[in-house]
């Protein structure tokens, strides 16, 4: 049984279809990331799975339970860090963990848990005086108090400095090593690439691509390209003398390669053209290229709420 199963999930706010028929499933022990610009429906999707929002239609199951109807049961088995995690101003991390332990009726060792999330250096600091990264780490510690099977992280590193971000990543990797299922949303490609086994790219409430990052790159990317600095004469020569697809502009010529033979043909033709050229590179679409292509350049850094 998959840890998370979603099919045909829909949620509308007024006129806005925030989630528009998404389907995916997450296996036990997997790290799955929803990637997308702001307003793509990531948070709505994850909040429905956490039991914080009710869906309009479709099915959502976490550990076989309906999150909205069986929230009380489910919450004993999942851990959640909401977007922009905030807590009461005055408890210290140690007190907060003891509090959560009491609420869940679990015996916890706050110091051990704080060591696990690398927050033992601030165990007695009031929450309001913690740094952004430390707050986020406390959120992770709290989400672990009940020893959850599935952990939801909604934009766990948004607004954190690179160092704090890496510390959070380190904790997420530990969670995976412990065999827990992790679902996270992010709008940082790097984060999805670093952490996730599989990624789903969301746009306007729909999943537009899903799979491992390699799968997405090869399926939605344009494959290998040779890029060389050169003028229109080079482009003209390539088009007239080879069957390669080539495009030019801005002092660059891009040659699309289908296989290794294409590369040899291209190199030979460039040399034969006698045109001036330099800075030859071969590259393929990164996840970022694919992402921008799929969600549109303008929405890459989006605006508006979820």
């Amino acid at each position: 049984m998959p840890a998370i199963e979603v099919s045909g999930l829909k949620k509308k706010y007024g006129d806005i279809q925030a989630v528009d028929g998404t389907s995916f499933s997450v296996e036990e022990g997997e790290v799955f990331s929803l990637l997308g610009p702001n307003g793509a429906g990531k948070t709505t999707t994850i909040e429905i799975l956490e039991g914080l929002r009710n869906k309009d239609s479709g099915t959502a199951k976490v550990l076989g339970l309906d999150p909205w109807a069986s929230g009380y049961e489910l919450h004993k088995r999942i851990g959640v860090i909401p977007q922009g995690f905030k807590f009461l101003d005055y408890p210290t991390p140690r007190e907060a963990i003891s509090y959560y332990g009491a609420l869940f009726g679990k015996k916890v060792d706050p110091d051990e848990l704080l060591r696990r999330v690398i927050l033992d250096d601030a165990s007695n600091v009031w929450f309001q005086n913690l740094s952004g990264g430390q707050k986020q780490k406390l959120g992770m510690a709290l989400s672990l108090v009940n020893d959850p099977q599935v952990i939801f992280l909604d934009e766990p590193t948004t607004g954190l400095d690179p160092q704090a971000r890496r510390a959070v990543w380190e904790v997420v990797r530990k969670l995976k090593d412990e065999g827990r299922t992790v679902m996270l949303t992010t709008h940082y490609l790097e984060e999805a690439e670093e952490l996730a086994d599989r990624v789903a790219i969301m746009k306007h409430g729909k999943i537009v691509a899903m799979g491992t990052t390699e799968e997405i790159e090869s399926r939605f990317g344009s494959g290998q390209r040779m890029v060389v600095k050169g003028g229109d004469d080079l482009l003209k020569y390539l088009r007239e003398n080879t069957r390669l697809r080539a495009e030019g502009g801005a002092g660059e010529v891009t040659i699309f390669l289908r296989d290794k033979a294409d590369a040899m043909v291209a190199l030979g033709a460039i040399e034969e053209s006698g045109a001036a050229w330099e800075d030859l590179t071969v590259r393929r679409d990164s996840l970022e290229d694919v992402f921008l292509k799929l969600v549109g350049e303008s929405e890459g850094i989006g605006e508006g709420g979820e």
Partner: protein
């Protein structure tokens, strides 16, 4: 119900500790009530009670009226000794209009014994002695106190403790002896109102904004447990306020206060009601700003019109009518009854009313306030 007292107590521990660590919480819980009572006590009780003249019109020709006057005289005849503070009784002829007589003497304090006083008293009918007074003057409070004592004496002497003689106040005088005596219950009511109301209204909106409610909804803690822990906390702070204010009232200003279990009931019911009300009000609005506006709309009329700083009976009739729909009025009225008059029968009504609306508002608060969204 999945109610757990241990979860409630864990939440109480965290919340209480947070409140004490926050400067505002500490100030409004412990310091502010003391400042209030020192301030108001000093303003209204300064200078002590000086000698004052009280006009007495005995319209009764029978023996009981005369006995009443002599009883009044025996408790408070200080006319001969100008140096000591107290009351000096001056008789007023039967045939004059008492109100006009008072104004002609520029006096506000007076006592009128009705014409049928002896007859009514002897036949066991109810009859009122009318006390004229100015609520802003401390002497009026003294007059009504003295009259109350004498009336009590008469009632005890009358048949089997039946209350035949009552006091009808004119203009107003509801407190006994001194302003400070009713200021203490008034300010306890004030503390029971303001501290939970402001905290809950603010909390309901900021917790929602910061998604703390969502966070809590992901734990086994229930809304009822959460709200109950706040009620327990504010019962504690109200009790502390009560102790501080009563201590200041008694030791600094010489307030006369009777300590009894009835006070405890109101110290429980007040915070129970206002925590629930604050939460209910907080659910109405989405932003902290709007919440505080709605909170103030509910809080401010109660703060001033429920008998906190001034007795309700000193207010014009239409404002008294307003006071009677304000829940805080019943808390303060009840506290007055038990702390000053020891009149438990009147306080039972206040307790019952307060309990009933508290249960209703608590239930509504639990129903309407949402951890999570649809």
């Amino acid at each position: 119900m999945r109610f757990s007292l241990s979860r409630t107590m864990s939440d109480l521990k965290v919340y209480g500790r947070s409140s004490l660590r926050s400067r505002e919480g500490f100030f409004f819980t412990l310091v502010f009530p003391v400042i209030l009572i020192l301030l108001f006590g000093a303003i209204f009780s300064g200078g002590g009670v000086s000698q004052s003249t009280v006009y007495v019109q005995n319209n009764d020709t029978g023996p009981v009226g005369a006995a009443f006057v002599s009883a009044l005289n025996s408790t408070s005849n200080y006319c001969s000794n100008g140096s000591s503070a107290g009351l000096c009784l001056r008789p007023v002829p039967m045939d004059v209009n008492f109100s006009q007589y008072l104004s002609s003497k520029s006096a506000s304090d007076g006592i009128v014994i009705p014409a049928n006083f002896s007859l009514a008293f002897e036949s066991g009918q109810e009859v009122n002695v009318t006390v004229f007074g100015n609520p802003s003057s401390t002497t009026s409070a003294v007059v009504s106190g003295v009259v109350a004592e004498v009336v009590n004496g008469f009632n005890v002497r009358g048949a089997a403790g039946v209350h035949h003689v009552g006091i009808a106040s004119r203009t107003a005088v509801s407190s006994n002896y001194k302003y400070i005596d009713f200021l203490v219950p008034g300010l306890i009511g004030f503390a029971a109102l303001t501290s939970p109301m402001f905290a809950m209204v603010n909390m309901s909106s900021t917790y929602r904004r910061d998604k703390v409610f969502k966070l809590l909804s992901l734990t086994p803690l229930t809304k009822t447990e959460w709200l109950l822990s706040k009620i327990i906390w504010y019962v504690c702070t109200t009790v502390v306020s009560f102790i501080l204010m009563t201590a200041v009232g008694v030791y600094v200003f010489g307030a006369h206060i009777a300590l009894n279990w009835g006070i405890g009931i109101f110290l429980l019911l007040g915070p129970f009601f206002f925590v629930s009300l604050g939460m209910l009000v907080g659910t109405v609005s989405n932003t902290p700003e709007a919440a505080s506006v709605v909170g103030n709309l509910v809080t401010f009329p109660m703060m001033f019109l429920s008998g906190t700083f001034f007795p309700v009976s000193s207010m014009p009739k239409y404002l008294q009518a307003v006071a009677h729909v304000l829940p805080l009025y019943y808390m303060i009225d009840g506290l007055n009854e038990v702390m000053i008059y020891g009149n438990f029968e009147a306080a039972y009504i206040d307790m019952a009313l307060l309990l009933a609306i508290s249960v209703v508002v608590f239930a509504l608060a639990v129903k309407f306030f949402r951890w999570r969204e649809d």
